[in-house]
């Protein structure tokens, strides 16, 4: 009935699942909660300045994408030096479920490709909205998505 933005609660109810799934897939379950809080607090602060005809899902996933990038960066800073890692005997591979291996590989993709893949297949966003979320052209979004999929194909035989 109105021409304005929906009440924030409605916006949160409508997009919390998509944001949650996106974050679980891009930063992992352990960090999803913090990123989720950061995403929606940032959204709440900026909300009244938003145009009423904005694509709210693409907008909030843009914020989630940035928060996921921040989380990845700080994780990289905390990363254990390579020489401290226990060497795993590659000849006796652990039985990793295929899906886990696939999602691990998603986590290893370059940031833009990772976001493109997760936004497309987890958040179910069309290419145009993926482009908005990661801040590039629609063609570039398509390319990132395709490159990400190609890399996954190389890592994980399906």
């Amino acid at each position: 009935m109105s021409d304005g933005l929906p009440p924030f609660q409605r916006f949160l109810d409508a997009h919390r699942d998509a944001v949650w799934r996106f974050l679980v897939r891009s930063v992992g379950r352990a960090e999803a909660e913090d990123c989720f809080q950061d995403t929606f607090i940032a959204a709440l602060r900026a909300y009244p300045r938003l145009r009423a005809d904005s694509n709210l899902r693409a907008w909030v996933l843009t914020i989630a994408h940035r928060k996921a990038l921040d989380a990845h960066r700080s994780r990289t800073r905390r990363a254990v030096p390579v020489e401290d890692l226990t060497v795993v005997d590659a000849s006796a591979p652990m039985p990793v479920p295929r899906d886990e291996a696939l999602w691990d590989a998603v986590g290893d993709l370059p940031a833009r490709q990772r976001s493109a893949v997760v936004l497309r297949y987890v958040a179910d966003l069309p290419h145009r909205d993926i482009a908005t979320a990661i801040g590039c052209s629609e063609d570039a979004a398509r390319r990132s998505l395709h490159e990400g999929l190609a890399k996954l194909r190389k890592v994980v035989p399906v």
């Binding site: 929906p6 009440p7 919390r16 929606f40 709440l44 602060r45 696939l102």
Partner: protein
């Protein structure tokens, strides 16, 4: 980088989609997302990041919506008023930063309970008048001064609002009262004691006046 065929990437895409669609995972994620959203709203409300908080309150009339800003209670809506349209109007008039959080509304819910039980004659919660225009404020301030059990006529209230011939306008302002019950517009009657109108329905007006013992006053005004 090797460019793979479209078919290859399609199979990966199918695996990504398939995994994301697993029913149990989806249900667990939805619960986790709902929990995270609840925590977010509590935090936003506690830290003052939300401009309006709302919740529901039980009453003899059914479920009321109560909404407050940092200044105070801003809206009480009867069950027939569609929750979404009430919130959308608040979003347009005040701010879209609206969250469902009960803690800020606990005092008003308690006072309403006590009032409906007959244990409270005055409301102590702070009010936010920002949904009320200048004339409406004058009318509703005069209305707020009517004590429990008392009644005034539309003409009395119009006169106190500074427009002695404005009974009809005063009636409109009372009908548009965004904080009924707490701003007691039910205490304003027609000259001669007829109940007149009520935003929440005239039966509720009668019920509230009976609760307060104000119908006797209305009958007396008729004599």
């Amino acid at each position: 980088m090797t460019i793979r065929t479209e078919q290859d990437t399609e199979s990966i895409a199918a695996a990504l989609r398939g995994e994301a669609g697993v029913e149990e995972m989806r249900a667990a994620d939805e619960l986790a997302a709902a929990d995270a959203a609840r925590r977010l709203v509590e935090r936003a409300s506690a830290e003052g990041l939300a401009d309006v908080s709302y919740t529901v309150a039980d009453s003899p009339f059914g479920t009321l919506l109560v909404a407050a800003t940092r200044r105070g209670l801003v809206r009480v809506a009867f069950p027939e008023e569609h929750l979404d349209s009430v919130l959308e109007r608040i979003a347009l008039r005040l701010s879209p930063r609206i969250v469902e959080a009960s803690a800020p509304l606990d005092p008003v819910r308690r006072e309403l309970d006590e009032y409906f039980d007959g244990r409270r004659r005055e409301f102590g919660v702070a009010l936010d008048w920002s949904l009320i225009g200048p004339f409406g404020r004058r009318v509703l301030r005069a209305t707020s001064a009517i004590p429990y059990g008392g009644v005034l006529t539309y003409a009395d209230v119009a006169a106190q609002a500074g427009s002695p011939r404005g009974s009809r306008a005063a009636g409109n302002a009372l009908g548009a009262n965004p904080i009924p019950i707490v701003i007691p517009c039910h205490r304003v009657l027609r000259r001669g004691g007829a109940l007149g109108g009520y935003g929440g329905g005239v039966e509720r007006k009668r019920w509230l006046l009976q609760l307060e013992g104000g119908l006797k006053g209305a009958a007396a005004a008729q004599d």
